[in-house]
């Protein structure tokens, strides 16, 4: 086992632990912080796997932007009080959910273990990537060439997200006035 593998296992177990905390903890704020931890672990794993750009994005976008949003909302809604929703759930439903999820997980693992990945391989061997200027450069180039199209439509997605989120979340003003001015 290489050092990288050791680190992988370390971060993987941390990630699993924190994600369990995220899911199981009563207090949303605690969950949010655990989630940040999960994101960090993921970033580390990305790095271990050689996906440096993704790793960076993970930290910037997820841990930086999305989590801030979460915590902001948690604070805004004053919803950080421990929620006792946990106990109210039907125990049978909960157990069944867990069992079924576990079952699915098991079968997925079985599949992963007993299956072959694509027999044809791509051209981006690590050496190749290195020779083309590294992970970041390759990705960036691809983004603006081969993946230009999804990149462009992502812009529409973001636009829609902004318009939608604003329209929904902005303070309801007197709907009587038809001449509303959006804040976006």
């Amino acid at each position: 086992m290489t050092t990288a593998a050791i680190f992988f296992y370390l971060f993987a177990s941390l990630a699993i632990g924190f994600s369990l905390v995220t899911v199981l903890k009563k207090n949303p704020a605690v969950s949010a912080f655990s989630l940040v931890m999960v994101f960090f672990c993921f970033a580390a794993i990305y790095a271990i796997l050689g996906a440096h750009l993704i790793s960076a994005l993970q930290i910037v976008v997820y841990a930086g932007a999305i989590m801030v949003l979460f915590i902001f909302v948690i604070m805004l809604l004053n919803a950080d009080a421990p929620s006792f929703d946990f106990g109210r759930s039907h125990i049978a439903l909960r157990v069944a959910s867990i069992v079924l999820c576990a079952g699915l997980f098991g079968s997925f693992v079985w599949v992963f273990k007993n299956t072959a990945l694509s027999p044809t391989l791509g051209t981006f061997t690590p050496d190749q990537v290195q020779s083309l200027g590294g992970n970041t450069k390759v990705l960036s180039t691809l983004l603006y060439t081969e993946y230009l199209y999804p990149f462009e439509i992502t812009s529409a997605l973001i636009l829609a997200g902004i318009v939608g989120a604003v329209a929904i979340a902005k303070r309801g003003k007197s709907a009587k006035s038809p001449y509303s001015q959006g804040e976006a």
Partner: protein
Amino acid sequence: MSLINPAYLAMSSVQLGLLTPYLVLFFGACLALVLVVTPSARPDISVPGVMVASMAAALVGSACQVGAPAQALFNGMLLSDGFSAFANILFLGSGIAVTLMSFRYLKTQDLVFNEYYVLIGLSILGMMLMASTLNLVVIFIALELMSFSVYCLVGFRRADRRSNEAAIKYYILGSAASAILLYGAAMLYGSSLTLDIGQIADRAAQSGALFSPLLVIGLLCVLIGFLFKTAAVPFHAWMPDVYDGAPIPITAFMTTGLKAAVFLALVRVMASVSSAPLLTGSVATSFHHILWMAALLTMLVGNLVALQQTNLKRMLAYSSIAHTGYLLVGLMAGSATIDGYTAVYFYVMVYAIMNLGAFGVLTLLALKGDAGLELGDLAGLAQRRPWLSFALAVFMFSMAGLPPTAGFTAKYFLFYSAVQSGDVLLVVLAVLCSAIGAYYYLRVIVQMYMKEPVGQAAGTTRFSYSAALTLGVTVALVFQLGLFPSAAMKTISDFMKGPQPTTALVK
């Protein structure tokens, strides 16, 4: 080896032309957004005006593409073919109709926030993109573009807890389903090195040995994602609640545009999957069984529960589930028949038209606060609003599948193709389900025509020309397609040069 493949960047003027509908719509939306945020005169008229204009322009653009040779743009991520032209026309048409019928509705409901129209436009853009690609990443992005817009539109009655509830439910479940779909995409990627379903199929056709459990699970996850969006049982539960809580025009939009988009995308995917020997042996059988059961359950649950409803919107929601079931029957049959999925396309189109019409009437009937849509509110409507009742009756008969309406011919083609695929038992069950369906559709008519009016009920809204136009066109189309479907059928099959399956999904 160079990273930059010039082919990715070069784009002929023809190809640019093919992009016109998308671009027009996108920039129309942007323009409308500008109008929303800048203090301009009467944005409540100009914004929808711009949106309708751009949608109409896009529609014309799409229509111009009919007959043009199929093209793959952006490394195959955007397929411009008859299929996408057909889909675009359908989405844009329903978008225009929804916009028109929303106009009066938003006024009566005190909901004049003009972002509404922009969101509809963007959502349609998402639909168009989704139906014209086989790339899973693009599908995902387009799907989310469409979904995010619709989440917001569903929750647009912000002060109404029902609307909030619907939006949240839809968001939670929808996102989970998207995640599953995406997970499936990841697994497909792992088993075939590509995110393009068309390429997966091509590779399978070349090597013939792409089969792996990973691929199967990936396909299943993708399928589940789609089944969720089309509200097939057991992934249907969100739909009634969301339809119920959403503003009526948005419900109309969802039953028509959104449903059509998801289904057409699913058809494209399934057609592609089944055109190659991807699924063989026991897996193919399992897939067949799964779809079979899903179709049956969907029809059953949809019809049975619709029978219980007294709220019109909810009833139509369940009926929409039932129609998903019929469509699944057609989907299964499509791969085995010569005419392929033409029957499904036709059904999708007809279904969109009927629903637009039916919801158009409901929009006009809705009182303030979306109240007044219980069945009983329709009592004696025929005497107060004869034309409106007539229109609704036509749509109900059409949905029940009675001649001489389009619903009948559509259903006929669908089942016809299913019989050809040899699945007579399923068709028999399907027609029995549609007999159940007739009952609740007829109840609406009973209320309108055979009951005496009780007190102050629905149908007091003023008439709006835009809505009248929508209704008139849809009624005419329902009859036109019911009586003379062959022209439309022929057009559709002329459109479809793309995903023409050659081999059966099963066997």
